[in-house]
């Protein structure tokens, strides 16, 4: 193990993880000390300021935005792709094996055609 060095040799970036961790820890300590000196809590506990805010509900609620609705824009944009893909993954065993037979047949066509 005589040529082991502790950095990844990729040109163009600085990657020495021990130095990065030491710099990160030093910055964290500096921020912690500065925060203790100059930050102060200016919110009132036990009022509505600590509850989650969901776009202006007036009554008190105790849940977040449902995680299925987080990426609705992405899903709506690719809706054609998703309806096709979801109907492939529905659990039908025959279709699972059909795909393997199709791929084997395609590759055998490539072999007999002289490409492989």
């Amino acid at each position: 193990m005589n040529n082991v060095h502790f950095s990844l040799d990729i040109t163009g970036i600085f990657w020495n993880p021990i130095a990065l961790v030491i710099i990160f820890a030093a910055i964290m300590i500096l921020i912690f000390i500065w925060g203790r000196i100059s930050f102060n809590r200016d919110y009132n506990e036990k009022t509505a300021q600590v509850k989650p805010f969901n776009s202006g509900n007036v009554e008190e609620i105790d849940y977040n935005v449902q995680s299925s609705n987080l990426y609705w824009g992405f899903r709506r944009a690719l809706s054609g792709f998703y309806t096709r893909m979801i109907e492939y993954h529905d659990g039908d065993l025959n279709n699972y094996l059909k795909w393997m037979v199709i791929i084997v047949a395609l590759c055998l066509l490539l072999v007999s055609g002289g490409f492989l």
């Binding site: 299925s68 979801i86 993954h89 529905d90 659990g91 039908d92 065993l93 025959n94 094996l97 037979v101």
Partner: protein, 119 residues
């Protein structure tokens, strides 16, 4: 010429087995189709090992060295192993099919989808 007949049988068996796997909906029929495929493979190895005019590959009471012609023994060992593996596989799959029937009251793979977690 006899060997070609056996190889055609192998291809037919594997073809029938794979077609039944792709188009049958009952869990037990899928296990039967898998057994047909494995039978085809066993026949393939058996046909590979055959040498026309050969005897069983046992040295005790074998004919003399001039007319000593034996079939290959290694694929026969593989066939025995494959039969045992096919037996264990079928036993496990049939047990799991029994449990599926007991929990879901159906053996039809179209009804057993059970995946309803996309919106």
């Amino acid at each position: 010429m006899g060997n070609y007949f056996l190889y055609v049988t192998v291809v037919l068996l594997i073809f029938i087995g794979v077609t039944a796997l792709l188009y049958k909906k009952n869990l037990i029929k899928i296990v039967i189709a898998l057994n047909i495929v494995e039978s085809g493979l066993n026949l393939f190895f058996l046909t590979l090992a055959y040498r026309p005019g050969g005897t069983a590959p046992i040295f005790t009471l074998a004919p003399g060295l001039e007319e000593l012609k034996m079939v290959l023994p290694t694929p026969q060992a593989l066939i025995l192993t494959n039969i045992v593996i096919g037996f264990a596989t079928s036993a496990l799959m049939l047990t799991l099919a029994i449990m599926t029937y007991r929990n879901n009251k159906t053996l039809d793979i179209q009804k057993l989808r059970g995946v309803e977690d996309h919106d």
